[in-house]
């Protein structure tokens, strides 16, 4: 698969990955700064997190620099394909909705709403088809996970 090629000198793939790594490394360094680092012979809880975060930080900076300075290179820079919000939001929301409802409303209802919401991710879905399908899946899920595999999850609202 060939992505479109841009002529602006910035390699956004590199730059975004670099920024992501820098952010994670910085977060980890801040979160662990109070831990005892110790020495190599007697490592404290903070030794490995510090070492790994610093390595990550170095990688992050490297990708940032490489991303910005690709301009002079002959290599073509691959652009990122545009983000489509519909599938992204629908799938994430479906998972979130499951997390919100599974405990309170039980697996049967949570399954139906999760499947219906997830199928909104594509324009092809038709409610006439998805709703019966969701009911079917919900029944199958209850049978499989609660009756057969004995998961300790409530079936109905409590």
């Amino acid at each position: 698969m060939q992505s479109p090629v841009t002529r602006s000198g910035i390699d956004w793939r590199d730059l975004l990955f670099g920024l992501f790594l820098v952010a994670v490394a910085a977060g980890a360094l801040i979160a662990t700064h109070k831990l005892n680092v110790g020495s190599a012979a007697d490592m404290g809880a903070g030794y490995m997190p510090r070492a790994v975060s610093l390595g990550l930080l170095a990688f992050g900076l490297f990708f940032c620099v490489r991303g910005v300075r690709r301009a002079g290179l002959a290599q073509a820079v691959q652009a990122i394909e545009p983000v489509q919000l519909r599938p992204l939001l629908a799938v994430l929301a479906a998972v979130g909705l499951f997390a919100l409802t599974a405990d309170r409303l039980g697996l049967a209802i949570a399954s139906v709403v999760t499947v219906v919401l997830a199928s909104l991710a594509t324009r092809e879905g038709r409610l006439r088809e998805t709703v019966p399908f969701a009911l079917l899946l919900s029944g199958a899920a209850v049978l499989l996970f609660i009756k057969v595999l004995a998961l300790p999850v409530p079936v109905w609202p409590r």
Partner: protein, 501 residues
Amino acid sequence: MDLFDNLLLGLSTALELNNLGLCLIGVLIGTAIGVLPGIGPIPTVALLLPFTFGLSPPGAMIMLAGIFYGAQYGGSTTAILVNVPGETSSVVTCIDGHEMAKQGKAGTALAIAALASFFAGTMATIVIAVLSVPLSVLALKFTAVEYFSLLVLGLIAAVVLAHGSVAKSLAMVLLGLLLGLIGIDVSSGAARMTFGVAELSDGLDFVPVAMGLFGLGEIIANLERPAERRVVSQSVRDLIPSRADLRAAFPAMVRGTMLGSVLGVLPGGGAALPPFSSYALEKKLAKDPSRFGKGAIEGVAGPEAANNAGAQTSFIPLLTLGIPANALMALMIGALMMQGIQPGPQIMTEQPKLVWGVIASMWVGNLMLLVINLPLIGLWVSMLKIPYRLLFPAIVLFCCIGTYGIANSLFNVWLMMGCAAIGYFFIKIGVEPAPLLLGLVLGPQLEENFRRAMLLSDGNFLVFLSRPISAVLLGVVALLLLALLSPTILRNRKAALAESS
């Protein structure tokens, strides 16, 4: 005969009724997800991991292994009939396999693919059995120092030999290691990066991470592409190949098996690389290379044998040294740890029933797959008619229930949601998530062995070089990294990977 005794022990384990049943379930699920494009073995194994908790260790591993090699069989069915690879490893099978189907020889292509897979599976089982013994003898000499070096070698080699940019993969390994450090530090009891979340004190659960990154992230990215139109029009006849077909395919099967067995053992290998190499080899050896791409039977037999052999021999580093060759094997390590078995070089001597049971079950499983695939082909074809718009909400739901079910923890579902978003981000910026999973699973062991080695040597880093086995292992790491910097290899690797992607 040590080897013979071991195989006998393995067979007696694999043939226990329970384990036969689990093996059958594994290969059935494997074939199903292999046939269906859009869901791979990694999220499936992650999804089923929690349910293996109640099984015996050999039973659990036998079932999970069955999913992996079953998926390789199923992937080729889709490749031949619909020209869509069911798994990445069956991309090559599309080329000549689908061409054969168009010429009305779908039955022959399917049969040859299944026979080649079975032949390769059988041979690879023998390779595993033979190679395991010397490796495990070597492994007995391992202390924390050697094990640390081995872990480093495993991680680096997996990165160098796998797809994608090496620098990015190395960064992903580090990211995985960092995530692996989350939780209560075992020796000091200090909470690390738990941000006050009680669920994180036992460490980050890798099941929701794997399902989010590999399962859901992939679904979101798949949905952005225009829907494919699958045409499964023709009926499958003539499942028994002719003598001439067999004669043409057999040498390719043998070569594919050998190539696959070797490439599978290498870290980063597994099922993806061997078929491409085998296809290239067959094309080079053929008297008339122009037949390739127009339904050459060798182009189906060789790669199919190679991918199955590779899938199976990628278990060797796991079963003998406790080192995963790819992301899926990392999940297997996770499965072992859930069973309370510490993966590592001692695993062969301490768990012979487990190791040899899994090895023997592979052959049993391959036999089952042959039976499942050929006569039941109609069932799998009808599965292909399920449209993706119905399939993906079902996968989303099962991922949710599976993650929730592991520890009855809603936190894991939220974690999976976050990982799905990050997985999508990684796909968008073209970063391979597999090394992260390796780092995450191996992180705690890496730290523990590093700590122990440093404690033994009183903080002297030279200990890794002064011990011979460790020095050799690190030497290989250095060679791998140096080789990467050399311009010719860099060019060849780029060409090889470009061809395969």
